[in-house]
């Protein structure tokens, strides 16, 4: 079943408007993300991929245009409501791992739950289950900085998955990974797709956008949508 989970209409993001260093990062982009699909945003660096991801991921608001997530227009929502949607709907895998290095694996993975109403025991169980799934349960009490790059990546993914998100957003996930780890990652993402999650990936790495688990590719250039190709 395919239906649009997220769609944008004329989404525009302008940094520093009406100032000398005005920058149109996203120029009237209209796209659709379908439920259960893997969508790749493809384009050279600076083409506006991250800007678009952060808007559909409720990280920031567009300067103009509409953004509808699960039927709700989020373009004008106050920040704390955006945060609420982000908590319950999205899991983010960033270019950097963005882990707190001085803190244990377990705490890093549990952090998204802290501002929520979930109880301590439930958090612990979920964290353990998640770490087990990624084979790092044994290291749960180690500080993140003691882990290898591959393990850190798994911690970051476990954290993205801890709130059981419908939509996973990944921004240049392979940028800092070697070939073996990148293959690992694609396998994990493919697994998510099979679980029925919707995945949006921004990348300019051919290894990702040429792999065959991608359903749709949206090409971007200079903040505009250039082409949409469907497999």
């Amino acid at each position: 079943m395919e239906e649009s989970l997220i769609w944008t209409e004329g989404a525009t993001k302008i940094y520093n408007p009406r100032l000398p260093d005005e920058m149109v990062a996203l120029d009237k982009a209209s796209i659709t993300i379908r439920q259960g699909q893997v969508t790749v945003l493809k384009g050279p660096s600076g083409s506006g991929k991250t800007s678009l991801l952060s808007i559909i991921g409720c990280m920031s608001r567009p300067t103009a245009g509409r953004v509808v997530v699960k039927g709700k227009d989020v373009a004008k929502l106050p920040e704390r409501f955006l945060t609420g949607i982000r908590r319950n709907t999205f899991g983010f895998i960033f270019q950097q791992f963005n882990l707190i290095r001085e803190v244990s694996v377990q705490e890093n993975v549990a952090l998204p739950f802290y501002p929520m109403k979930t109880g301590f025991t439930e958090i612990r169980e979920r964290v353990d289950r998640m770490l087990d799934q990624f084979g790092i349960l044994a290291k749960k009490n180690l500080k993140v900085k003691k882990l290898s790059g591959g393990e850190q990546q798994r911690v970051a993914i476990a954290r993205a998955l801890i709130n059981d998100p419908e939509i996973i957003i990944a921004d240049e996930p392979t940028a800092h990974l070697d070939q073996a780890l990148a293959e690992d990652l694609v396998k994990i993402l493919d697994g998510f797709r099979r679980e029925g999650r919707t995945i949006v990936i921004a990348t300019h790495d051919p290894f990702i956008f040429e792999s065959n688990f991608v359903d749709r590719t949206i090409s971007m250039r200079n903040g505009q949508i250039e082409r949409v190709s469907e497999r």
């Binding site: 952060s54 983010f92 270019q95 950097q96 001085e102 952090l111 998204p112 739950f113 802290y114 501002p115």
Partner: protein
């Protein structure tokens, strides 16, 4: 509820993680609180002690003024005062100050007739005959004398007079007896050369405390040159003086407080890159601005309370175990002879509350805007680092 606990937990873990930085803040903060609490503990303790001593003081003291100066009181005033209803025992007192050139200090010389029931003594007895004296701890120390020794004082004719030390007051918690020398009443009159029929002042007992004001008024009316002083008024003066002194100290001390606030501000504004990126990460993974503000609130509260407790304990030890070695000279000030008395711990909730007000509020106020600045970090920034 659980939400707040979890954020508190993270705040604690953050504080522990940055232990050196927070340790420095806590040290400075608790030192500030210690100084402040020492001032308040010390002045409060002195105040309470003075009030305790004064509770044994007469209800009313009648002095006489002449040309705006303190003058000796004619003994026949006793008869006039006796005419008032509600008046109990009336006693003329003979006492004065004595400058001791030998030690460069001032003593108070007081004459007694009967026993002094309320005064505690360590050793010896009150003067039972002419030529005996009792000295306060300070006098004994300054003159290096004890019971059985001789005390030589120069009388009003410039002649040396020898008194035998019959007793010595205890050092325990007594500001008033420290510089005191007690002689027989006759001895004092002769020593100072009081004119016939004159006393230093007159003490009056009054049966009903609520009558004190009225009787004082009537005495003033009957004896226009008399100056009646009520016990309440003395207590008030002591209070005012102690409040004033601790207030002065606090004012001077505010400078320290201000510099501490600048430190706190600096600590909160000068977020390290590491802290900034951490807050960015938290926001990106679903923490709201208000959650970060709460985190910062807990951090501030934990640091404040820790420093507060440490500072209070340090002040308590400083004042009541080490006799406020650093502050005592300033607060006790006026006396040349320092009473080496032991302070009795008087601490009440009110003082603790005041100390909290004086220190925690400036700290919180100086961290609220920097915390907010940190909390509004753009979650999106994490995606571009």
């Amino acid at each position: 509820m659980i939400r707040h606990l979890k954020i508190l937990e993270h705040a604690l873990s953050t504080i522990v993680r940055r232990k050196y930085k927070n340790f420095a803040v806590i040290v400075v903060y608790s030192f500030t609180i210690m100084v402040l609490a020492s001032i308040l503990f010390l002045s409060h303790s002195l105040k309470t002690e003075a009030a305790n001593i004064l509770s044994q003081a007469p209800d009313l003291i009648v002095q006489r003024t002449m040309a705006g100066r303190h003058e000796l009181v004619p003994e026949n005033y006793v008869e006039v005062i006796k005419g008032n209803r509600g008046v109990g025992k009336i006693t003329p007192r003979y006492w004065g100050y004595y400058y001791d050139a030998l030690t460069g200090s001032n003593y108070t010389i007081l004459g007694v007739t009967g026993a002094l029931p309320e005064m505690e003594m360590v050793e010896g007895a009150l003067p039972s005959r002419s030529g005996e004296c009792v000295v306060g701890e300070g006098v004994a120390r300054a003159r290096r004398i004890g019971v059985g020794d001789e005390l030589i004082l120069v009388n009003s004719q410039g002649l040396g007079q020898v008194f035998e030390v019959a007793g010595k007051f205890t050092a325990a918690s007594d500001i008033l007896t420290n510089d005191l020398i007690i002689l027989g009443e006759r001895d004092v009159i002769d020593f100072f050369g009081f004119p016939q029929g004159r006393a230093t002042d007159i003490t009056v007992e009054i049966r009903n405390p609520s009558e004190v004001q009225n009787i004082a008024g009537r005495i003033k009316r009957d004896l226009p040159d008399a100056r009646p002083i009520t016990k309440q008024e003395i207590i008030r003066t002591y209070d005012a003086v102690f409040n004033w002194r601790s207030g002065m100290m606090l004012t001077i001390f505010s400078a320290a407080l201000v510099s501490f606030c600048i430190l706190a501000w600096d600590k909160a504004t000068g977020l390290s890159g590491e802290e900034k990126s951490e807050i960015g990460i938290l926001k990106a993974i679903g923490w709201d601005t208000s959650d970060i503000l709460e985190l910062k609130f807990w951090e501030g509260l934990v640091i404040s309370l820790t420093s507060f407790l440490l500072g209070l304990i340090a002040a308590f030890v400083h004042v009541f175990y080490f006799g406020a070695t650093i502050l005592a000279p300033v607060i006790k000030g006026w006396s040349v002879l320092f009473p080496s008395f032991k302070l009795i711990p008087f601490v009440n909730l009110y003082q603790v509350f005041v100390i909290g007000f004086l220190t925690v509020i400036p700290y919180i106020a100086s961290t609220v805007i920097p915390s907010w600045k940190a909390a509004i970090a753009d979650p999106e920034s994490v995606m571009r680092s």
